[in-house]
Amino acid sequence: MKMRISLFKGLHAEPPPWLRVALAVLPFILFLAIYLFAAEIRHQENPQDKLLPTLTKIALAVEKVAIDPDPRSGNILLWQDTAASLKRLVLGVSIASIIGFFLGLNMGLLPGIRGLSLTFLTFIANIPPLAILPILFITFGVDQLGKVMLIILGTFPLIARDIYLETSKIPTNVVVKALTLGASQFGVIYRVVMPQILPRLIDTVRLVLGAAWLFLIASEAIASQDGLGYRIFLVRRYLSMDIIIVYVLWITMLAYAFDIFLRLLVSWLFPWYSAGKKD
């Protein structure tokens, strides 16, 4: 007798490919349906309703911010804001990655560096970054530098600690083996261990990007002339839900695209990484 395999229920369920796709799409459709239904009801009561814009209104908003140039500046707002925000985000996360990576790597391998920085780093990591935003704005100005600094300070301790933990997981045997193969101390750190940790850095960046977006939008909301966060908080004053929704969807898609890109990057550059991990 053939064993019956559940499609959906239980520990041993084996959904076939078509069902997997359907299952993944289902929550989106449900959510959209509820939204449209609610928007329709509200618009029947009040055609001027701002809270839940219909698809038509959202399409108009897309046209306004992403296709037509802004009547005042002549720029297309969405692109201008995206460029400004991404510049800050990429700059901040890149610098934080470099600092965090080398700090974590050296902490993981060198007891002296570990002794010097571990306690301090743990302390720093516990400062809520947004709480020191005023200090950053006072010290580094409300321009680019203040915002980039917030992203750096908010994410580098996370990266450093994660890389440190990953580096300390490298077995002593691997280090000793490298020494018996003639590696210098520098060689052990940068030629044997560093290449093994690099893919983890990309994974870590994927995780901290969420925090980085938070810091970016918060700092843009408070003081800025452009940027995605700036725009959202600006149009909030006019209750322009349609534009907010467009911007939020756009940010979400950008963040999601980054995540996918980084994941693919890991599997392209480091084919041994995820495959070797499973055993």
Partner: protein, 294 residues
């Protein structure tokens, strides 16, 4: 009765290793000639791996004298190679690159590309000698345990170490692969003429491979300490073994089986405790400093 350290590759006198208050090895006296194939056996936790780590320079002795070629031990270096039980290949390098690693890491970084070709050719020779040439471009995780272990051996060999340390290198292999590997390691030992220290749990393997077998054990009666006080492990038996037969058939002979039984009795039975005066140290290089006249 002392030996002259100069005649030996490895010379230990009164070597003790303790972790905190736990003494693992106590008063180890050991002299090993160059090109010896020394197998090391003993009950679990007796300190076999610890002894290897001391010889490797991975850890420092707590007291005593330990000399290699008459000089004090230093940090791990290319003159002593190591093969661990668990596959310790570099996961981010291909098989060929893993074997090249020794040739490349000992060069400064800026010579990495100029030396690449020669390193590659040399690595290929070693890869062929462990019969893995067709797997050169794979990553370690794509190979079976036995294959990875052969790579690890080739990786250590390319440095031509004077001493090769192996800690249960075949522990995770199935019996068939194990026997092939045993013959391979004997061949390599003949060809390159290095000193081998080989830790194993398998007495048969130890007696088959070695030219000398060291039994380390914590089960013995200390000459001064009372029985209830814990003491570190010592070398409780030390035999010269027959020169290698290169055929696994010797494993079936009666003498082979008897020796294994004796060793099991002397070193592995917690019920049977020999007096420290009565250790079976019949090897001509063996000596003790901790007991006086019988």
């Amino acid at each position: 009765m002392h030996k002259s350290p100069d005649e030996y590759l490895l010379y230990c006198e009164d070597v003790t290793k303790a972790y905190g208050s736990k003494v693992v090895l106590e008063d180890i006296d050991l002299a090993v000639k160059h090109k010896e194939f020394c197998t090391v056996v003993g009950p679990s936790g007796c300190g076999k791996s610890t002894l290897l780590r001391l010889i490797l320079g991975q850890e420092r002795i707590s007291s005593g004298t330990m000399l290699i070629d008459g000089a004090a031990l230093h940090q791990p270096s290319p003159d002593r190679g190591i093969v661990y039980q668990k596959y310790s290949l570099f996961p981010h390098l291909t098989i060929l690159e893993n074997i090249m690693a020794g040739k490349q890491l000992s060069q400064p970084l800026w010579k990495k590309f100029s030396t690449r070709k020669t390193a590659r050719d040399e690595a290929m020779v070693y890869l062929e000698s462990v019969q893995l040439a067709e797997h050169a471009a794979k990553y370690p995780h794509q190979l079976s345990g036995g294959m990875q272990q052969r790579v690890a051996i080739a990786q250590a060999l390319i440095m031509h170490p004077r001493v090769l340390l192996m800690d249960e290198p075949f522990g995770a292999l199935d019996p068939g692969t194990r026997e092939t590997m045993q013959l391979l390691i004997l061949e390599i030992w003949e060809k390159y003429g290095m000193t081998i220290f080989f830790v194993t749990h398998d007495l048969e393997e130890a007696v088959f491979l070695g030219t000398r077998i060291l039994v380390i054990s914590q089960f013995y009666i200390h000459e001064t300490k009372p029985p209830e006080e814990s003491h570190g492990s010592r070398i409780v038996a030390d035999y010269k073994l027959n020169d290698n037969a290169y055929s696994t058939r010797v494993k079936q002979t009666a003498a082979f089986g008897e020796l294994i039984q004796t060793i099991r009795y002397e070193g592995f039975n917690p019920e049977v405790k020999q007096n420290a005066h009565d250790f079976n140290l019949t090897h001509s290089d063996s000596f003790v400093t901790y007991v006086g006249e019988k």
